[in-house]
């Protein structure tokens, strides 16, 4: 089956051999879409890839968030999910003086963190991994979180293209926050423009080639 756009309640395909995957439902041998997006088949497994909507936190996601509040034993971080996220001082890989927590992370600071657990009480974050911690400098902006896999590309191929063409270091949080760090503001803005282009064209096939073409067009 070819990829196609589906809307909720639409029959994606008929036949007993197909299995329902993410956001699909099987009723009387027919597979129904339960969400607006792209329907895709892989080894008879049908799933819907969402293209819009808010960010849903998952365990293991690396996200970029903003420090909202300082509590006695940690920080409250806004990562754009429905639940607020908590970063405990136990999860910071260095000594934290409880009387001067704002020296480690102050309100308004941006931070790269990893979701290590999601439970009834909320989301717990950790900084105990490479590349996590407070963001010192760079340009941060937001894209739709559903398009993040496209901006990263297969095994980071898309990020590599942008990096090679603009010279910017790129960190993409799974929640849709993008951090760019280049040698000057112009290269950062150029990279931002490229990412906005990918965001707009995210659903087309052969996107990598399209982006390379865009870069050669822009550089002229």
């Amino acid at each position: 089956m070819d990829r196609k756009i589906v809307i909720p309640g639409e029959i994606i395909i008929e036949g007993d051999e197909y299995l329902p995957g993410d956001f699909t439902e099987k009723k009387n041998g027919k597979l129904f879409a339960l969400r607006y997006g792209l329907a895709e088949e892989q080894n008879n497994l049908i799933k819907v890839i969402p293209l819009s909507g808010v960010y849903h936190a998952r365990r293991g996601n690396v996200v970029i968030g903003k420090v909202e509040n300082i509590l006695a034993n940690g920080w409250i971080i806004d990562i754009g999910a429905a639940d607020t996220a908590f970063l405990s001082i136990m999860e910071v890989p260095k000594y934290v003086n409880k009387d001067a927590m704002d020296e480690v992370l102050n309100i308004g600071d941006m931070v790269i963190a990893k979701i290590w657990s999601i439970n009834k009480r909320g989301i717990d974050l950790s900084l105990k991994s490479r590349g996590l911690g407070r963001i010192e400098e760079g340009l941060i902006f937001e894209v739709n979180s559903n398009k993040v896999p496209r901006i990263i590309g297969k095994e980071g191929s898309m990020i590599k293209i942008i990096k090679d063409n603009t010279g910017c270091d790129i960190t993409v949080g799974q929640n849709g926050m993008v951090l760019l760090d280049g040698k000057d503001i112009d290269s950062e803005l150029f990279a931002k423009k490229a990412i906005r282009f990918i965001e707009k064209k995210s659903h087309i096939q052969g996107l990598t080639a399209e982006v390379e073409k865009w870069f050669t067009g822009e550089k002229k």
Partner: protein, 235 residues
């Protein structure tokens, strides 16, 4: 011989006004849509799922839907006083009930999905236009749904059943007068909302639901197309 009933704008009895729909009209919202039926224009914006506030309204067993219908003060020729009134509150609640059966909120405990509907131009059938726009906006916001709800108003003018009343027809005063029956249904013809304003017999009511089913089919096609056009070509 019975004289055939003529509609003021020359439409056939089962003919709807020209409809237009567009998705993504409010960039700041998580999902949004515009639905136009003749001169009636509705804009719907959806925010969420997000944490329900105030906290005492949170429901740990399921997510909730919240709906706000509003007519903009310039939507009718006589300026209407802006803000919530009895009618707006009723329609807000009705819209929520019409959409709730299709939306799968079980996965979002303690959370809420907010729907804001604004009527920027009114010429009867605003609640139906609002429901149609809201259904598209919900889909655009990526809320899991079993189906898309479509809505249409059926009218009885004297003794004749017609589809999609305009304001002019609603003010019809001959014979038995006008009766307005807004109906919302899913694609398999299950009614999620129906209102009745006036008098009608059981037989004719059944007939009007059948007419609504046919009309909703057409509305759904437009909703579907608008959602597909928003993404554009895949190649």
């Amino acid at each position: 011989m019975v004289k055939e009933f003529k509609r003021p704008d020359g439409r056939k009895l089962t003919e709807m006004r020209p409809i237009k729909a567009e998705v993504g009209v409010v960039p700041n919202a998580d999902g949004s849509a515009m639905f136009q039926s003749g001169k009636t224009i509705a804009i719907a914006a959806v925010y969420g799922p997000k944490k329900m506030h105030p906290q005492h309204k949170q429901d740990p067993s399921t997510g909730q839907l919240r709906c706000e219908y509003n007519m903009i003060s310039f939507s009718v020729d006589d300026r209407i006083r802006p803000g919530r009134n009895r009618r707006a509150m009723e329609i807000s609640e009705i819209t929520k009930w019409a959409l709730e059966p299709s939306v799968m909120l079980e996965k979002y405990p303690n959370q809420v999905v907010d729907i804001h509907i604004n009527i920027i131009q009114a010429d009867a059938g605003t609640r139906c236009a609002g429901i149609n726009a809201a259904a598209m906006a919900l889909a655009h916001a990526g809320i899991p749904m079993r189906d898309i709800v479509s809505s249409i108003s059926i009218g009885k003018l004297d003794k004749t059943l017609v589809v999609d009343l305009t304001k002019e027809e609603e003010d019809f005063e001959e014979g038995e007068g006008p009766t307005d029956i807004p109906v919302s249904m899913t694609s398999d013809g299950k009614v999620t909302h129906m209102q009745l304003d006036g008098k009608i017999g059981v037989k004719q009511l059944q007939e009007s639901i059948d007419m609504a089913y046919e009309a909703c089919k057409e509305v759904r096609e437009v909703q579907k197309q608008a959602l597909k056009d928003f993404i554009g070509e895949l190649k």
